[in-house]
Amino acid sequence: MNPLVLWFHKLGSPPYFYRLAGRLLPWLWGLGLISLAVGLYGGLVLAPSDYQQSDAFRIIYVHVPSAWMSLFIYGFMALNGFIALIWRIKLSETLAMAAAPIGAAFTFICLATGSLWGKPMWGTWWTWDARLTSELVLLFLYFGVMGLYQAIEDRRQASRAAAFLALVGIVNLPIVHFSVNWWNTLHQGSTVRLFGPSLIDSRMLWPLLIMAIATKFLFAASLLSRARVDLLELEAGKDWARQVALADGDAA
């Protein structure tokens, strides 16, 4: 078999994933916190203030990375949900469900910081434009997925049902992303572009990119931490889980 496919098979096995995640976690947390510190220092101290918004624009360093993460995590959750539904891989079910609360948290941060930013700049905490509304709907979708997962007793059935809901809700993602292009909204268009020049000075851009990387690391770290605990709970009857529990008990 192709080594990559083989590796994926191996990764799908809970004990292997548990050990691998355990080894990766310190690195992920470390890198995440370091890049977070660098990004925040760069954004809040080093970056020059904006000619129009002066220092208020610095909210961008929290707002925009969390907005990216809110979409990215939903996509991640839906992708894992899809894999879980089609191939019934336990790891994917766990990852999808572990990602939901993190995604909801980022969505909430995005909405809260956006609101804080909107008041001085636009003159309103909240406006019902397409970008803001669809981001709010995204938060509700996260809540729905989490609520459904909590409501069903059988863990695996619960994660399949919740994954299905996540897949249904994925229609909202393009609406969030393209709303500023499709409709003439109060929310401005995207500043940082994958293709073509970004509309931001490079001295302001680099902390933003560092923050984007930091949030990815932090997401990965908290995801793996949560998934490890969930897997242990899910596999509580298995030998490897018992061994882990015994080892932890000895260490304590």
Binding site: D154, R155, R156, L234, E235, G237, K238
Partner: protein, 220 residues
């Protein structure tokens, strides 16, 4: 379907290493057995041994945790679910607001009609003549069960999966179930019935499988 089945035809139903897990706890299995045309198999097990779950897996309502189910030699998939299977579960699948006749007409519409029988005939042969147009709500639990049994007579399924068919029935009802099973077996059908052991299919010599006896392999 009425001709005796030659030995080389694949079995009507075959389970290979069948097991079901809930939250990684095995509910039953692994279990292997086969049912040929004319077979009536009694699946015995105590309360909670997974009899109902087994019937749901065999009918395709639940995906097996391990192993596979073969119908006429072909694996059970969503697409060819249950064309051959009639399930009578704990819940009878009949509506209290409707009359026996209305319930049966719906069952025929959904599952098709065996040639040479009408809903009236079916109700007569389960002893419900004269109750055709009464709302089911006004009938007793045993009479409701008889309506569900009449459904089995009408739909053209070769394989019956009956979950505790004797529950709620009086002595006469129990003989009725046995008679229906005999008839079905003679016509080339097969049936798998579950029981916790208090009542049993007595006519003929049915094969018995203990569900709680894990790892025991049964070959026909």
């Amino acid at each position: 379907m009425n001709s005796p089945t030659p030995p080389e035809t694949p079995p009507l139903l075959e389970a290979r290493g069948l097991a079901y897990l809930r939250n990684d706890e095995p509910i039953f299995g692994p279990l292997s057995f086969r049912l040929d045309a004319g077979d009536v198999v009694l699946m015995e097990g105590d309360n909670g041994s997974g009899k109902t779950t087994l019937l749901k897996v065999l009918s395709g309502l639940l995906p097996p945790g391990a192993g596979e189910v073969l119908l006429n030699g072909e694996p059970l998939t969503l697409a060819r679910l249950s064309h051959q299977v009639a399930l009578l579960g704990h819940l009878l699948g009949v509506k209290g607001e409707l009359s026996p006749l209305q319930n049966l007409r719906f069952a025929i519409g959904l599952g098709g009609l065996r040639p040479g029988i009408t809903p009236y005939h079916a109700l007569k042969s389960v002893g419900l003549e004269g109750y055709e147009d009464l709302p089911l709500r006004q009938l007793s639990a045993g009479q409701k069960k008889r309506v569900a049994l009449a459904r089995l007579l009408l739909v053209p399924a070769a394989l019956w999966l009956l979950d505790e068919p004797y529950a709620n029935l009086d002595r006469e009802g129990i003989t009725l179930v046995n008679r229906l099973l005999e008839l079905h077996a003679l016509r080339g059908g097969a049936a798998l019935i579950t029981s916790h052991g208090a009542y049993a299919y007595t006519s003929g010599t049915p094969r018995r499988i203990r569900l709680d006896a894990v790892d025991r392999e049964f070959a026909a």
